[in-house]
C-alpha cells in the first residue's frame, strides 16, 4: 500500500509517541511574527529555557506594520512596542529577522516561499492559522497557538494528533475570469467551514497540475477557512522551478539531491485517502461571499439565499444573523450591491501575479467616486518587482492607493480599517463580523479581479462584464 505525502512527511518528522497518545512531531521550519511570539519568548525566559534550534526559526513583522508610514517610531506606540520586542527577542536568541530595513520584510506566508525557506517534504509551523499556505510546496504546514510557539522554540517539536487526509480533485479548465480564489471559495462553500476539521486537504487534479505556485498558495492559504488545519499540493516541476535559485534554496550539488528527495515525498499513485471529493473546474463561477463566514459564498450570477431556503433551524438562524449583519435581503441579487472600500492584498492574494493580473485590466479604468481602493503588496520583494514593472503607476493612475507591505486591512491591526458599517470588497480570507477593524464593518470576499471590478464600478460586479474577458481572450 502506498503512502500519501502527509503520511510520508509525518513519519519522517515523528519523534516518538507521548503518554497521551499524541505524537511528538519535529517542526523543521518555524516562522514567527510580532503578534503571537512575544508571550512565547516571555514563557521561555520565565522557565530559563533557550531557543534550541535558532537556525530553524525565521521572523518577520507583518500584522501591525503601518502601510502608509515608514519612519519609526510609528504613530501607534503599541505597534512600535511590538516591533521592538520582536527585534530584541530575535537579537537575543540569534533568530534571523527579516526586518523592515532588509528589503525582505512582508507577510510571513509570502516571505517564506519567496526566500526559498518553504520547501517540499518539510514541516512548517507558525503562530498564524494561514500557515497552510506553505502546503502549496508539498510541506505539512499549520497554524499553532502561542504556547506551542514556546514549545517549538524550546524543543523544535510540538504534541499533535495525526490528521486524516481528504483528497480534493479539481479537474478541467477554469472558465475565463475564474481564478484560484474562486476555486477555494467554491470548495469551502461545498464542504462547509467545519468540513475539514480533523483532516489535511490534499489538493490535486489537472487544474492544480496547471496552476502556478502562486495560485496553489492562494488555495492552500484558505484551507483553515474550511476547517482544515493543513492543506497541500504534491510537489512537481512547477514547485522545483519556483524554488530554483532562491536565497535559502539548496545550491550546487545539493540542489539535485534535494529535488530527488522532494520528489520522493509526493503521494504514491496507489495510496488511499480517508475521503475523496471530485470537482469539475468548468462549474466554478466567480464567487463572492454574502455572509459572515467564508462558507457563505455564491456565484456572481446567483441570488443571496433567503432564510427559508435553509433546511434546518440552526442554518436558518445563521442565514438570518448574516443577512442582518450584512444589511442584505435574502433572495436579492448580489450583483449591484454598493461598496465603500476595495482592498487587494493579504497572504491570500498579495503576490506579484495578483497585481499583474489586476494591472492588465484596470488600465484605462478609474476607481468609482466615493470608493477608497487600496492595494497592499504582500512583501517588500513583491513591491519592488511590481514597481520595477511600473504596476504601481498603473494602479495610482486608476485611482488606487499603492501601499507598503503588510497584512493591512485583512485583519486591521494597523491603521488600515473600515469605518462604521462600510462594505469592503476584499481579496483577503475572512469575512467575520468586525474582521476589518470596525465592529460593524462588512466584508465580501472575492478574487482580486472581482475586487478591481467592484472598485471601478462602485458595486459588486461581474469582472467578466466590466473588463470584457471573452474578447480579451484570457
Amino acid at each position: 500500500m502506498g503512502k500519501s505525502l502527509f503520511e510520508k512527511v509525518w513519519d519522517a518528522h515523528a519523534v516518538r509517541q507521548l503518554v497521551n497518545g499524541q505524537t511528538q512531531l519535529l517542526i523543521g521550519t518555524h516562522l514567527i511574527h510580532e503578534v503571537t511570539s512575544p508571550q512565547a519568548f516571555g514563557m521561555l525566559r520565565d522557565r530559563d529555557l533557550k531557543v534550541q534550534y535558532p537556525h530553524r526559526t525565521f521572523a518577520t513583522v507583518d500584522h501591525i506594520v503601518p502601510t502608509n508610514e515608514s519612519v519609526e517610531p510609528y504613530s501607534d506606540p503599541l505597534a512600535q512596542g511590538m516591533i521592538e520586542e520582536l527585534r530584541k527577542n530575535c537579537a537575543n536568541n540569534n533568530v534571523t529577522f527579516f526586518d523592515t530595513n532588509t528589503g525582505r520584510q512582508g507577510v510571513v506566508h509570502i516571505v517564506g516561499p519567496e526566500q526559498g525557506i518553504t520547501q517540499p517534504g518539510t514541516t512548517i509551523a507558525c503562530g498564524d492559522s494561514h500557515t497552510a499556505t506553505h502546503g502549496a510546496f508539498g510541506a505539512i504546514a499549520f497554524g499553532i497557538g502561542t504556547s506551542q510557539v514556546r514549545d517549538v522554540l524550546a524543543t523544535q517539536t510540538i504534541a499533535l494528533n495525526k490528521l486524516k487526509v481528504r483528497r480534493i480533485n479539481v479537474d478541467g479548465t477554469l472558465p475565463p475570469g475564474v481564478y484560484a480564489k474562486d476555486v477555494i471559495l467554491h470548495i469551502i462553500r461545498l464542504l462547509g467551514t467545519q468540513g475539514g476539521t480533523g483532516y489535511a486537504y490534499e489538493y490535486a487534479g489537472t487544474t492544480f497540475d496547471k496552476f502556478t505556485m502562486e495560485e496553489r498558495m492562494t488555495v492552500c492559504n484558505m484551507s483553515i477557512e474550511g476547517g482544515a488545519r493543513v492543506g497541500y499540493v504534491n510537489p512537481d516541476e512547477t514547485t522545483f522551478e519556483y524554488l530554483r535559485g532562491r536565497p535559502y534554496s539548496p545550491k550546487g550539488a545539493a540542489w539535485g539531491a534535494a529535488v530527488e528527495q522532494w520528489k520522493s515525498f509526493a503521494s504514491d499513485t496507489n495510496c488511499t485517502f480517508d475521503d475523496v471529493v471530485n470537482i469539475d473546474a468548468s462549474h466554478i463561477q466567480p464567487t463572492v461571499t454574502w455572509g459572515i463566514t467564508p462558507g457563505q459564498g455564491i456565484g456572481i450570477e446567483e441570488s443571496i439565499p433567503a432564510i427559508s431556503d435553509a433546511p434546518t433551524q440552526s442554518e436558518r438562524d445563521s442565514v438570518a444573523e448574516a443577512l442582518e449583519y450584512m444589511q442584505l435581503e435574502g433572495g436579492s441579487p448580489i450583483k449591484g450591491k454598493k461598496i465603500d472600500v476595495a482592498f487587494i492584498g493579504s497572504c491570500t492574494n498579495g503576490r506579484l501575479s495578483d497585481f499583474q493580473e489586476v494591472a492588465k485590466y484596470v488600465k484605462g479604468h478609474k476607481v468609482a467616486e466615493g470608493v477608497q481602493a487600496i492595494i497592499v503588496p504582500g512583501s517588500q520583494v513583491v513591491a519592488k518587482i511590481a514597481e520595477d514593472l511600473g504596476l504601481d503607476k498603473i494602479f495610482i493612475e486608476a485611482g488606487f492607493e499603492w501601499r507598503a507591505a503588510g497584512c493591512s486591512m485583512c485583519l486591521a491591526m494597523n491603521p488600515d480599517k473600515l469605518v462604521g458599517d462600510q462594505l469592503c470588497a476584499s481579496s483577503s480570507n475572512r469575512n467575520f463580523k468586525g474582521r476589518q477593524g470596525s465592529p460593524t464593518g462588512r466584508t465580501m470576499l472575492m478574487s482580486p479581479i472581482m475586487v478591481a471590478a467592484a472598485a471601478v464600478t462602485g458595486q459588486v460586479s461581474d469582472a467578466r462584464d466590466v473588463f470584457g474577458f471573452a474578447s480579451a481572450g484570457v
Partner: protein, 200 residues
C-alpha cells in the same frame, strides 16, 4: 509542566448563542496589540458585549444574572478562524474555565486544552436543554465530569464527548506538554539529524 489534574469542572453557566463563533468575535484583533496575555479578560467578546460608543448591549454576557458564570455554552464550530491563543487566554482570564459546544475548531481546541480550559461537545438538543435550564435558573450549578463523560445540572445529566488524548491529558494533569517534549531532546536530535534541511 505537570499541573493539577482536572477531573471535573463545576460552575454556573452562561449561554452564548450562535454557530461559528470565530476567534475575532472572542477577541477582536485590535486588542492583541500587547506583548503579554495579562489583561485580555477585559476584552473577551468585546464587540458582542459593547456598542461602538462603548455602552453595554443587551446580551447574556452583560446580564447580572449570569455574572458569576464560569462555563460558556455555545453552538457549533466554536473558536473557528485564527490560531490566536489570545482567544482561550481571554476566556480563561475573564473567569471561564470550560466551554460546552456542538463542535470546536481544531486549533482553538488544542490551544484551550494546553491551558486547561476544558472543551466538551454536547448535542444540539442537550445544549438547548442546558441553555433553557440556565435561563430559568441562573444560579444552577453545572458539573462537567470528564471521567464519566457527563454534564450534570439540577439533578439531571446529559452525555458529553471530548477527544481521548485531551481527556487523558486533563485527567492526568499533563495538558501542558512542554516537560514531556523537553525530555525527548535526544530523540529529537536523532530525527533532525536524518533530515538534510535541518542541518545548520
Amino acid at each position: 509542566m505537570s499541573s493539577t489534574p482536572i477531573k471535573k469542572v463545576t460552575g454556573k453557566g452562561v449561554f452564548v448563542p450562535g454557530d461559528d463563533i470565530d476567534t475575532d468575535r472572542i477577541i477582536p484583533a485590535r486588542f492583541m496589540k500587547c506583548i503579554t496575555f495579562d489583561g485580555l479578560g477585559e476584552y473577551l467578546f468585546h464587540d458582542v458585549r459593547k456598542t461602538e460608543s462603548g455602552e453595554d448591549k443587551q446580551h447574556n454576557l452583560n446580564d447580572p444574572r449570569f455574572a458569576q458564570a464560569s462555563i460558556l455554552v455555545s453552538g457549533n464550530n466554536f473558536g473557528c478562524g485564527s490560531s490566536r491563543e489570545h482567544a482561550p487566554q481571554s476566556i480563561l482570564r475573564a473567569g471561564y474555565n470550560a466551554v460546552i459546544a456542538g463542535s470546536f475548531a481544531e486549533i482553538f481546541f488544542g490551544n484551550s486544552t494546553n491551558l486547561g480550559v476544558v472543551c466538551v461537545i454536547a448535542s444540539d438538543a442537550d445544549r438547548e436543554i442546558i441553555a433553557s435550564a440556565i435561563e430559568a435558573h441562573p444560579e444552577l450549578e453545572i458539573t462537567i465530569d470528564l471521567e464519566n463523560h457527563k454534564i450534570f445540572y439540577g439533578g439531571q445529566s446529559v452525555p458529553c464527548e471530548i477527544k481521548q488524548g485531551a481527556r487523558d491529558s486533563l485527567l492526568s494533569g499533563n495538558y501542558d506538554p512542554l516537560d514531556e517534549l523537553l525530555e525527548g531532546a535526544d530523540e529529537v536530535s536523532k530525527t533532525a539529524g536524518a533530515l538534510p534541511y535541518m542541518q545548520a
